[in-house]
Amino acid sequence: MSNLPETGRDSRVTIRLVVIQILVFSLLLTLGGRLWYLQIRNGDQYTAEAADNHIQQVVAPATRGSILDARGIPLADNETRLVVSASRTDLMKMKDRGKAVLTRLAGVLGLPADEVAAKVRLCDAKTPKPCWAGSPYQPIPITDEATTQQALQIRERAEDFPGITAEPTAVRRYAGPGGSNTAQVLGYLSPVSDDEIIKAKAAGRPPLLRSDQVGRSGLERQYDAELRGKAGVTRYEVDNLGRVIGKAKSDKAVPGANVITSIDARVQAIAERELDQAMKDARKELDKNTGVNYKADAGAVVVMESRTGRVVAMASNPTYDPNAWVGGISAKDYQQLTGKDSDYPLLNRAIQGQAAPGSVFKVISATAAVNAGYSFTDNYNCSSSYSIGNQVFKNFESKGYGPINLGRALEVSCDTVFYDLAYRQWQKDGGNNPKHPKDWFYRTAHQFGLGKETGIDLPNEVKGRVPDREWKKRYWEANKDTWCKQGGNAEDYAAKIAKENCESGMRMRAGDSVNYSIGQGDTLVTPVQMATIYAAISNGGTLYNPTVGKAVASPDGKTVREIRPTAHGKLPFDTRTRNQLDAALAGVATQGSAAWRFEGWPQKEIPMHAKTGTAEVYGKQTTSWFATYTQDYTIVMTISQGGTGSGASGPAVRKIYNGLYGVDDKGKIDPKKALLPHPQEKLPTIEKDGTIEAQKIDPPAPKPKESDAARKEEKDE
């Protein structure tokens, strides 16, 4: 005992106890540090993960807003269908995982049991369709075509159908009022993709839900954000097995706003019908150049308010039934709409179809000539042909009119007058060795808004093309290798052209300029561009951005945002030139190339202006163009491979005017029959509860008998 220290404690033991104590407290400190790291430093991240874990959302989609015509008639709205849905969560709680219930349900609905079962299984890599790609907490629709009888059966025997609901649900409907279709303008909806959800999130846009339908084209796409509204979300807290244990913060659904358009369903119906008829008629005509009937494979017509740029009707042909998209498009329908063998009916050819304008371009050339210093009233020789070097440019049907002024040249659509003006201007600009070229003809085309979008409120408008020096250079750079290779041993026509292009395609050649002046060659325009230009001539020179949307009305009708016409330019002419052009275009309708189509038109009451165009397309039949306007409306129609301007498009345009103003074939005006003698200015009345008082619309008129009796021998251009 004596060797023990005073405390009775051996020093080795004491030291070791201290070691143990240090070890113990370093362990505790480690825990504290780690706790701080997880909870304080990374707490937010884990909070988010926990929320992901236990919150499940059930989405009640917002009612999509309607698209209305100018008088309040719904072009696109929702109809109530009886949708039978199954709650997967409920089914999975059953002992047989809902098999018995689904089999019974299949019996009631008259569907094969395995098809019903397949609809409620969740999609994964191994599961073939049908399967459910949405959230498993979302009721899964089994059918949206249940009859009242079936719905009642399911509801009355609720104990036999636990987890099954039969609810009236809003489904998009494209009503087609008065026989209108408006397919390409309205666009269509399809379910949102995962990619879009992620992108919307990343861009900070309102979040998309998996159940959302998204506008894919047309107005549905353009005004998607307004139309869609905000889906209601009920958030449930769930446990590790997905059982609901409580409700979290939920958002009520906000219905989408209504978009009021300037489309008039009645005029739209006429435009569509007449375009279709004109194309059918054209297919019966023999094309003397090719020796076969015109193909008339595509066409478009735009009816626009001259003083605002608002679109009253816009038709594109070939067309389709937009209801094909409702409730998910079938594979067969999709193939027909988009497949290689389809005629691409989804394209809105009024804004997405482009072609050389032909003689409807001459208003631009005439303005360019005036701006370049040539007098509108001077006489220019309208010869039957025009030669530059060894190249001969013929007048249309090789007809000469002698010395005429620019107005008359427009009336009779004399090409050689414009050839001469363009050639002289080309020479002034330095010919093949240009020095500071003024390029009046090209500059004016740009000033008329060609080569860029008109800014219409529809997606994916195309630009067209002004084949100016800059474009030629770029085009040559891109293609010279091909041309030079193809044109190596020039024998046939195509190779000769290629060789020529290879050698001088980078330059603005005399022939290019001459061809360009009458709207042929590489120029491309869209129908809506031409409508904008002719409307501008009508209204004194303002190039309006065409609009289809006129107002966006909130679902409760309280706020209405009007979409005011905006302009993107002024036509480069003074009032005198404008009036001279106006008079000349009136002359076209009364004594020029379109006169035979406006025979008996009450020109005094409703001054009509027109310009015809027949554009040549290499390897194809001619494109028919017809551009017309009154004080109120501008109508431009085009038919690809359809023949001449007045010949193919004339009767249709005349009939649209007849409908608008209530004019009969003999030229008598009946105000009672006039659909829209003046543009609709007032918005439809919006009630306080958000409903819109829609005007009545007659069912579509019975189709006129085949072949237009008034169809005459084609005249001139």
Partner: protein
């Protein structure tokens, strides 16, 4: 007491009233380490709330009675307190004589687990079902008996003054004594308990003043043992998976890594002050398995936040701090060694339990002393508190 008596007989008689004995200046009650006791009680109190929070919705466990686990946990704590009082009453010194019997009983019970009497839970055959929903886990009690047994052997000659340090023979005997139950538990296999027992053995040897060579040798043997266990395939697949999930928590978050991942989400989402008791979504949603027992700390982390979870770590620290003081202040080696064993047990088991929920230790089936639901673990922990108190109360006033 009467002034006319001249003296007070009762004051000097050794037979004082019970109340007098308990409140007297030198009484056992006054000399108890109240700080440690209150810290342990606080841990049990918090544990009871957390157990309730974790189990009130678990209908598949609580047989439809949300208070099932709450009441049982209170009962367990009560029994544990009773056992602690008993331990103080009897005293660790008096127990010295009974240690061989206690040891024998605990080894027999542990061995019985391997017979058809044992029940397998979560892959380990560690329980004996007693019926009526009660079961005992004998390995919990071996933590005490090994500590007491080894302390008895190692301290005998030193406390008798025969030797300054335990001799080699004694160390071998002590190790042999520990090895028997450890091997049995390894066969269950209850790896967590084995780890705790090994740490206890190390701490006991360390505190007993045994030769450095033994400590070094044991550490080496421990490493070798681990390698052997791995190589010989003693571990079941679930145990290997736990280690794999520990090494890489992102591994298979719905399978092997699920526990670790969900536990960490629960704790991390608590933030500074937590979601509030009974308001944790991870807890209410039962995303963390075994939450009332091995993963009880995740409830604290989620619902009480850094403040509450930190308080638990702090309280564990208080208990250990007082225990270390007791170990240092007692002059007899027996008490010191017992205290050291208990310190190592509490410290390592708490570190392993909390550490696995925080993702810094592999997952093993170890309860958090005082806090986790579980009778055996609760009883053992409270007996240990009783022993520590006894060491403090009965320490020799001077050498």
């Amino acid at each position: 007491m009467s002034a006319t008596d001249g003296y007070n007989v009762r004051r000097y008689t050794p037979e004082r009233s019970t109340w007098g004995r308990l409140t007297a200046r030198d009484s056992v009650v006054r000399r108890l380490d109240w700080v440690m006791l209150l810290a342990a009680l606080a841990l049990s109190g918090i544990g009871t709330l957390l157990v309730y929070s974790a189990t009130r919705n678990r209908t598949e466990l609580n047989q439809g009675d949300p208070y099932y686990f709450l009441l049982r946990n209170i009962l367990n704590t009560g029994i544990g307190l009773g056992l602690a009082v008993a331990a103080v009453w009897v005293g660790h010194r008096a127990l010295r004589g009974g240690v061989p019997i206690l040891y024998a009983i605990s080894v027999l019970l542990t061995a019985a687990v391997l017979t058809p009497l044992g029940a397998t839970i979560n892959g380990a055959r560690s329980w004996i079902q007693l019926g009526a929903g009660f079961s005992i886990q004998p390995s919990e009690f071996t933590k005490i008996t090994i500590t007491l047994g080894m302390a008895m052997l190692l301290a005998a000659k030193v406390d008798a003054g025969d030797r300054q340090h335990p001799d080699h023979r004694t160390v071998v005997e002590a190790l042999g004594l520990a090895a028997l139950p450890i091997v049995i538990i390894l066969l269950m296999p209850d790896l967590g308990s084995v780890m705790v027992l090994v740490v206890i053995v190390l701490a006991v040897l360390l505190a007993s003043g045994a030769s450095h060579r033994w400590i070094a040798g044991l550490l080496g043997a421990g490493v070798l043992g681990c390698v052997l266990i791995w190589q010989l395939g003693v571990l079941d697949e679930y145990q290997i998976n736990r280690f794999a999930a520990f090494a890489n928590p992102a591994l298979d978050p719905s399978g092997v890594g699920y526990n670790t991942n969900q536990a960490r989400i629960a704790i991390g989402s608590g933030g500074l002050t937590g979601s509030g008791l009974f308001h944790g979504s991870q807890t209410t949603g039962q995303f963390v398995p075994e939450q009332q027992t091995d993963f009880i700390f995740t409830v604290a982390g989620e619902e009480l936040g850094f403040v509450g979870a930190g308080a638990i770590v702090f309280l564990v620290g208080v208990v250990l701090w007082r225990a270390c003081r007791i170990a240092r202040e007692t002059t007899e080696l027996y008490g010191t060694v017992v205290a050291a064993g208990i310190i190592a047990w509490f410290a390592f088991q708490s570190f392993e339990n909390i550490g696995m929920t925080l993702g810094i230790m592999p997952v093993t089936g170890l309860p958090l002393p005082f806090v986790s639901y579980g009778g055996s673990s609760m009883f053992a922990a409270w007996i240990a508190i009783g022993l520590l108190q006894s060491i403090k109360v009965q320490r020799p006033v001077s050498a």
